[in-house]
Each structure stands twice: as structure tokens, then as C-alpha cells.
């Protein structure tokens, strides 16, 4: 079946007054976004700040309590739109009993990718070409993240949501992954990458700092640092959050990790 998604000259992703409430807690609390295509957008914030919920709302996996989202000019949720979205979950989301190739083939089939060369190509990109027959249980954590990424990209989607893609990934592979994200963006793909590692922010074209479901600040890394008057994003985040940056004066802070761990 051929699915037709209307092309839009406007932003690749657009959200207005987006709000998602779970019981008494607003996980996303009135967010407006407009992401032009072909760039990398970083959603930065501590654990529990609402990044995953925001990604799920944008991907159409959660229904907003209020507000709306459009992706590629189509109002979300839209089942046909999902053929043009790549989504990497925070957990690996792989079938442990299956091999690398079987997992990739399955998600390719689900996404409508029928070209076997696309599978081989993405496996080479994530450097798992020689692991086709390896069962998932025998892969290292980093290899699983790479395969998980491959499953999200196998159908060459124009919009990709990556939820904490570099968690548990060593610095070398992290560098390679970001290098690949950049190449995808250069080729016109719009990437939304969530992370709680502030140092990864500078690899994005634009950042959205989130805390308690609200946008704290947005712009490029240098713009945000300049606005906060700090030299690094972690300090900028804390300052913009109203948390004292003097460690001795910090009573309780949500975990903000640095890449230098």
C-alpha cells in the first residue's frame, strides 16, 4: 500500500500549547516548538523533566491533554505519518531471542522498508555488518544501542526521534554516532535527540532546555551560555533553573550529568 504524506514548506515539526498531564503531574506543560527541517535539535534536561513524554507526543505515541503537534505538515497522530518517522526508544526495544539481522528485518518490514540493501547499509553504518547472525543476548550494551538506532533508521525516515541514544555508549562510539547524526542532518533529515548529558548539547544545531515539563530556554548552545553568562551548558542550565551554581550552596538538585563522567 502506498502512503501519501503531504509535503510542507513550513517547519518539519511544530507544536502549539502542548500539554500532557498524568494524574496531578503535568509532564509537559504548555510547550510551543517550531523545528525547520534538516537540523539536529537537542532536548536537554534532567531525568523526569518531560523529554521522553515530549518525544512521544511528537511521534504520536501519546495523546496530548491539550495543544497540538504537526510533523511534516500532518497533524499528529497519523498512522501513515509513522512510515516517515524513525523512533529510537530509551530502552533497546529489541527481541533478545532473535539475531541482529532478524531484528533489523522485522522492524524494516514493520516500517515498510523492502530494500535489502538498505538493511545492509545501515548495519555497516552502525558497524554491525559482521554481527548479522549474532543473537541479541550475546551483544554488548553499546552494540545493542547501535542496533536499536539502526532499527529506527532502516526505512530512511525524514524525521527521527532519538530518546537518549547515547546512554551507556563509550566515548568513541558516541563520537561516531553524532558524526552519523550530522551526516543525516546534512542530507536533509530532521533529528530530535533527547539527552540528560549537557555536554552533548553543543553537537546540536538548536537546544531546548526543559525542566518540569516547561521550556527553560532555547537556541544554540553558545546563545544559551551567553544568555546565562556561563562557560558550560550544565552551569547554564542550573543558573536558568534558578539553582545556585556554587556546589556548596546546592541543597538538592536533579541529576545533571556531564560528559566528563
Amino acid at each position: 500500500m502506498t502512503m501519501t504524506i503531504p509535503q510542507s514548506a513550513g517547519p518539519a515539526i511544530e507544536a502549539h500549547g502542548l500539554r500532557k498531564v498524568f494524574g496531578q503531574i503535568a509532564a509537559v506543560d504548555g510547550i510551543d516548538l517550531a523545528f525547520p527541517a534538516g537540523r539536529i535539535y537537542g532536548l536537554l534536561g534532567p531525568n523526569g523533566s518531560g523529554k521522553t513524554t515530549l518525544i512521544r507526543l511528537m511521534a504520536g505515541l501519546a495523546v496530548p491533554t491539550a495543544g497540538s503537534v504537526s510533523v511534516l505538515g500532518t497533524r499528529v497522530p497519523s498512522r501513515p505519518l509513522l512510515a516517515r518517522i524513525g523512533y529510537m526508544t530509551q530502552s533497546d526495544g529489541l527481541y533478545a531471542e532473535l539475531s541482529v539481522w532478524e531484528n533489523l528485518s522485522f522492524f524494516a518490514a514493520m516500517s515498510g522498508q523492502r530494500d535489502p540493501s538498505a538493511l545492509a547499509e545501515i548495519l555497516e553504518i552502525v558497524e554491525l555488518g559482521d554481527r548479522r547472525g549474532t543473537p541479541i543476548v550475546e551483544l554488548s550494551g553499546g552494540m545493542r544501542r547501535r542496533l536499536s538506532l539502526a532499527c529506527a533508521l532502516v526505512h530512511r525516515p525524514p524525521v527521527v526521534f532519538l530518546d537518549e541514544p547515547t546512554v551507556g555508549v563509550d566515548p568513541v562510539l558516541r563520537y561516531q554516532l553524532w558524526d552519523h547524526f550530522r551526516r543525516l542532518a546534512t542530507a536533509g533529515t530532521t533529528l530530535v535527540v533527547s539527552s540528560h548529558v549537557m555536554d552533548e548539547g553543543d553537537r546540536c544545531d538548536e537546544l531546548v532546555l526543559i525542566r518540569s515539563g516547561r521550556v527553560l530556554a532555547s537556541g544554540s548552545g553558545s546563545e544559551i551560555r551567553q544568555r546565562a553568562g556561563t562557560t558550560d551548558l550544565a552551569s547554564a542550565f542550573l543558573k536558568l533553573s534558578g539553582v545556585p551554581t556554587d556546589p556548596a550552596a546546592v541543597p538538592v538538585a536533579e541529576p545533571i550529568e556531564s560528559d566528563s563522567e
Binding site: T53, L82, M110
Partner: protein, 378 residues
């Protein structure tokens, strides 16, 4: 051995139970509930309603014996019905459901002992055994009045020499067809939900109906193989001749099969389809694999007790009969018994009802399963 560490482990288990109230409740409530159910099934078992007919083909000479048996039957609380003049009419009365048991006296009343023929349906040996026991009681009472009587048992369906396995086989085929598929699907789908694969799956253009149908087909395939093997083993009998130092042996149970194995297969397939989708639906309410296993006393055990595996549904107390008639396994077992023991085909209204109920249950569970697979899973 460190007492402190042992205590810490025991305390941790208690803490886990305290936070997993369902497991705690099941640990305490389930055995009591199952025992109460079992107690009610056994102690409140209703005496079987028995309609008995007497046939004296030898003419008026047998009339006093029939009169004696009829009086004894009425005194014993049995309902005496007309079974016609001969053995053929007696068989027809049982087959058409007008009588549960018919006693046919021999044409010649001179022989000693006087051998009487007892005709039952043969569909439920447990019921037959209870009724034959009642009939034997009548014959004994009449026998004490000077007659020496012997009993010859004939069944309309199956064989009067059928053993317990012949009775249980259809029930066990139905039970296994449901049980294993239910547990395996439940655990498998729970892993989909908790492992992130379902969320990833739902981020593709897949339809919910495609997931449910795919699951039904995937598990249905293995359920088909399982049921086919069970049926071949249960119904078939293959004698392997001696070979060299190895003696000959038999494979298969050789259980009597009066009907179409394909029809029996349809019954069990619908049962398994319902089990797959009921498991998908219930997996929504489990967070761990242990909690899937906890559905066994809730979903499987009541069906094992009430659906006619061990006790006839008709002998259950009235409230439990109502429950039994809502359980898919009741219809699966009844359908399988109808086909395998009675040789029923699709012209049989009882079998049609069984198949219709199982198909309806499967559709209901497919709908419920589909409703629980939402793109919004958080």
C-alpha cells in the same frame, strides 16, 4: 552463616510482597478460593436427574418385574419414562434424549441368572457410572424379592468397556489446548509491553489488527502443531514390532474416536485462538512474568474445576452451573466430547452451539486484545 544477612534477605522478600499486593492477595486468597470452589463442587454436587425406562420384550410375563423395578425407581427418586416395547425403542429413547438409562429385560425370563441389558448414552462415563449404580440398586432390591439378576451394559456412543482415559481424553485435549497457549502468549506479550518492543512496534505504521492477527497466527501455528500432535498421540495407536534386541511397543493411546478429527480440530483451534487473545488482553494487567502465572488460579483453575473435566456440569450446584456456562472451556470440552465420543457433525445443534460460543468468545477476546494495544501506552 550470618543471621543479620539472612534476616535482611527475609525482610527484603517481605517488603517486596508488601509492595506487590496482588501476589500477596493471591498467596492468601487463591488457595482458599480454589478450595472453597472445590468444596462446593464436591459437597454440593447435585444428585443426577435420571429418567429411567423399562422394556420387557418378552410380553406380559415381564410385567411384574417391570412393575417392581418401576416402584423401586420411583421410591429412589428416579423418573420413570416410557421406553417402548423392545430394545430398539429403548435405544431410541436414550439416543433421542427422552431417557437417560433404559433397562431391557431378556425375552425369556426362564434363564438364571436373569441377564438384563442396561442402555446408556456413553457420552459421559462419570454420569453413566452413577446411573448404572442407581439401576443396580433397583435391580438388587428387586433381586432380593426372589429373582437372580445380572447386568449387561450397552452404550449408544463409545464403548461400555471404555476406560477413564477415553472419558478424559477430549477434556484434556481441550484443557491443554487452552492452558499452554494462554501462558506462553501472556508471557510473550508482557515482554513486548515491558521490553520496549511494543512501543517501537507502535511507532511504525502497523495496525492494531495486524498485531493481533499476527500474534494469533504465530501462536495459532504452534497451537495447531501442539493440538495435532496431542490428537495423533491420543487417538492413534501404532504398534512398533520387535527389532533386534528391542522388544515391540505401542505408540499412542488409541482412544476411541467416533467423529471427524478435523471437526475436533476446529473446536480446539477456536479455543486456542480465544486463549491467545485473552492472554494478550490480560497481559495489560500484569507487570511481571510472575503476575502472568498468577492468572492461572484465576483463569485456568476455575475452568478445570467447572468446565466438565472432572465433574459433569449438570451435577454442579446451580450458581456454579451459571458460571460454567460462561466459560469457553465448558464448550470446548462439550464440543470435543460430542465429536470424539458421540461422532457428532455440524448437523448436531449442541455442537453448533459449542462452536458458535467458542467463535463468539474468540471474537470477544480479539476485540478486547485489540483495545488494549494502544499507541498511547503510558
Amino acid at each position: 552463616m550470618s543471621g543479620r544477612r539472612i534476616l535482611a534477605i527475609a525482610r527484603r522478600i517481605a517488603q517486596q510482597f508488601r509492595r506487590d499486593r496482588r501476589s500477596l492477595a493471591l498467596l492468601i486468597v487463591a488457595p482458599l478460593a480454589v478450595l472453597a470452589l472445590l468444596g462446593s463442587v464436591i459437597r454440593d454436587e447435585k444428585p443426577l436427574e435420571t429418567r429411567i425406562g423399562f422394556v420387557a420384550p418378552g410380553g406380559p410375563a415381564g410385567a411384574p418385574i417391570v412393575a417392581g423395578l418401576s416402584t423401586a425407581a420411583t421410591e429412589a427418586g428416579l423418573t420413570v419414562v416410557d421406553a417402548g416395547p423392545d430394545a430398539a425403542s429403548g435405544r431410541a429413547a436414550v439416543q433421542e434424549g427422552r431417557a437417560d438409562i433404559v433397562i431391557v429385560l431378556p425375552e425369556s425370563l426362564a434363564a438364571r441368572p436373569l441377564t438384563v441389558q442396561v442402555i446408556t448414552l456413553g457420552e459421559s462415563p462419570a454420569d453413566d457410572a452413577a446411573r448404572i449404580q442407581a439401576a443396580a440398586g433397583l435391580i438388587e432390591r428387586v433381586g432380593t424379592q426372589g429373582l437372580e439378576l445380572a447386568i449387561e451394559h450397552e452404550t449408544i456412543y463409545g464403548s461400555p468397556t471404555a476406560d477413564a482415559l477415553d472419558t478424559f481424553a477430549p477434556a484434556l485435549i481441550g484443557f491443554f489446548g487452552f492452558f499452554f497457549v494462554f501462558v506462553l502468549t501472556g508471557i510473550s506479550f508482557l515482554r513486548e509491553r515491558t521490553g520496549g518492543t511494543l512501543e517501537r512496534l507502535l511507532a511504525t505504521p502497523v495496525r492494531r489488527s495486524e498485531i493481533v492477527t499476527g500474534y494469533s497466527a504465530g501462536f495459532g501455528f504452534f497451537a495447531t502443531i501442539q493440538v495435532a500432535l496431542i490428537m495423533v498421540f491420543a487417538l492413534g495407536s501404532l504398534t512398533v514390532p520387535p527389532l533386534g534386541p528391542f522388544g515391540g511397543f505401542e505408540i499412542g493411546l488409541g482412544i476411541a474416536n467416533a467423529g471427524s478429527p478435523l471437526l475436533a480440530f476446529l473446536v480446539i483451534f477456536l479455543t486456542a485462538l480465544g486463549a491467545v487473545n485473552l492472554a494478550i488482553f490480560l497481559s495489560t494487567y500484569a507487570r511481571t512474568e510472575l503476575q502472568i502465572l498468577e492468572f492461572i488460579p484465576i483463569v485456568i483453575v476455575p475452568q478445570a474445576l467447572l468446565a466438565g473435566v472432572f465433574w459433569s456440569v449438570d451435577s454442579l450446584p446451580d450458581p456454579l452451573q451459571v458460571v460454567a456456562h460462561l466459560l469457553p472451556m465448558t464448550y470446548a470440552i462439550e464440543g470435543l466430547r460430542s465429536v470424539l465420543l458421540r461422532g457428532a457433525d455440524l448437523s448436531d445443534p449442541t455442537l453448533r452451539l459449542d462452536i458458535a460460543f467458542l467463535a463468539g468468545a474468540a471474537i470477544l477476546f480479539v476485540t478486547l486484545a485489540g483495545a488494549t494495544i494502544r499507541r498511547e501506552v503510558a
